[in-house]
Symmetry: C2
Subunit: 254 residues, 2 copies
Amino acid sequence: MEKQDVDRTLSLMWRRALGVPQGSRGPRQRFSVDEVIRAGIAVADEEGLPAFSMRKVADRLGLKLMSIYTYVPSRDELIGLMVDDVMGEAELPPHRGDWRERLTVVARQMWDEFHRHPWLLQVEQSRPWIGPNGSDRWEWQLTAIEGAGFTDLEMDQVITLISDFTMASARADVAARRAAEQSGISDAEWWAVNAPVLDRVMPPGAYPISGRVGTTAGEEYNAVRDSERSFRFGLDRILDGIDHLLASRPRAGG
Amino acid sequence: MEKQDVDRTLSLMWRRALGVPQGSRGPRQRFSVDEVIRAGIAVADEEGLPAFSMRKVADRLGLKLMSIYTYVPSRDELIGLMVDDVMGEAELPPHRGDWRERLTVVARQMWDEFHRHPWLLQVEQSRPWIGPNGSDRWEWQLTAIEGAGFTDLEMDQVITLISDFTMASARADVAARRAAEQSGISDAEWWAVNAPVLDRVMPPGAYPISGRVGTTAGEEYNAVRDSERSFRFGLDRILDGIDHLLASRPRAGG
DNA sequence: CCTAACTCCGTATGCTGCACGGTATTTCGG
DNA sequence: CCGAAATACCGTGCAGCATACGGAGTTAGG
């Protein structure tokens, strides 16, 4: 990645704050960057990131492949722009209630977003782009726990913890859904193929605990996995742990 | 993916338990499946999953491309075999200490493994393969908290929580390292390009809390992010939260 | 008015996974 | 001992990908 691309992409990120660029020579672009980004999001929503290609974005707009490169420097940068764009969809309402309720809202918002745009989980950002919507959200998330009694460092760590956990839970959930929908093999068929081999191959009694736990979980979930429930369980534990951190030290303010 | 491939891959997964297949006609294979898998792991270790290709595996063994397909059904299945193989590297020592120490060992083992083989974080398993090493580990992880006072369902959820969080933390850490190493742009250069644009574009005072928290964190970490420290912070919170769950109910056994 | 700058696009390069079919090799059935 | 079947290995081809390069047409500034 070239430095000039970094600069150009950053300028594209903050295009609203920077205002319309000066009129320049040559033909006008047929579309706006926003339209290209939205076309990209549409493709990614429908087909996922692995199947996301520059050609499909071009086709969707009625452009030919190479014209896309006059709008954005490359595929990776377009994806970065798509990510920040999508982060602008969610509202950032004023916070209500105590920090626990607030963090629940923060986590749930991310959870919902990952389900609305599952390809977000497939983005491999080497270095995260700093865009306006991401920045606004980061500020909003920190505001949720401002004044709750954390040090600045802990505020960073708490939001990181919530974000990381939510992302991992959503990833597991989305992967499970995708497996059921698009692999062409249902859960039942999958087990019908697996079971005979595993019966033949797993030494009887080799997995006493996982056998017991897996059976219980399977019955309770009515599936191999209930990610929504695991998410709520994990979030509750994490919030309890954060509560313990606050309770274990002398209160500063009310 | 075809059902027969599922069956074939499962048989490959459990190849040791199934024993050597009957002698059959035709020339012997020049290599063993294990050698192909190990070659694949070597390629993935060196170049990461995106650059992992069947051709490179073939080259490494001195085979031509298409010969690899006589060993494994396809790229995805080879990756599945690589994953289970890698999970056999870690020792599963008898558990010592209380459940808290044990879960720390469980988490740390995964953390180390993701750093030894960062490509594990890039694997997109639609449906996870059930292999011997993965099964052994799952049993070992559950054993760590057997008898600690959890219900069977909670045992599943606790291990899922630890796994999900560790995976997400490791992902963040590995991504940060990769950015620094391979993007060709150092942290300093990155900020040198970012700062002027952001100064021009972020309204002054628009991000009071993130500005303050980011500065504190940056000074404390000596970097944008200290993932190792965030991991330890998060894990401590989670363990506290789990402790709270156990403490909040009548003890069953000692 | 002319030229620089720009958009759009055709073409080419070098990757990828993998389907198909051919040839050489080995073993089993008779 | 011989023929047929099965298998390993590989050459070729197809379709898809990102993107580099250069050309043709368009617009605005000097």
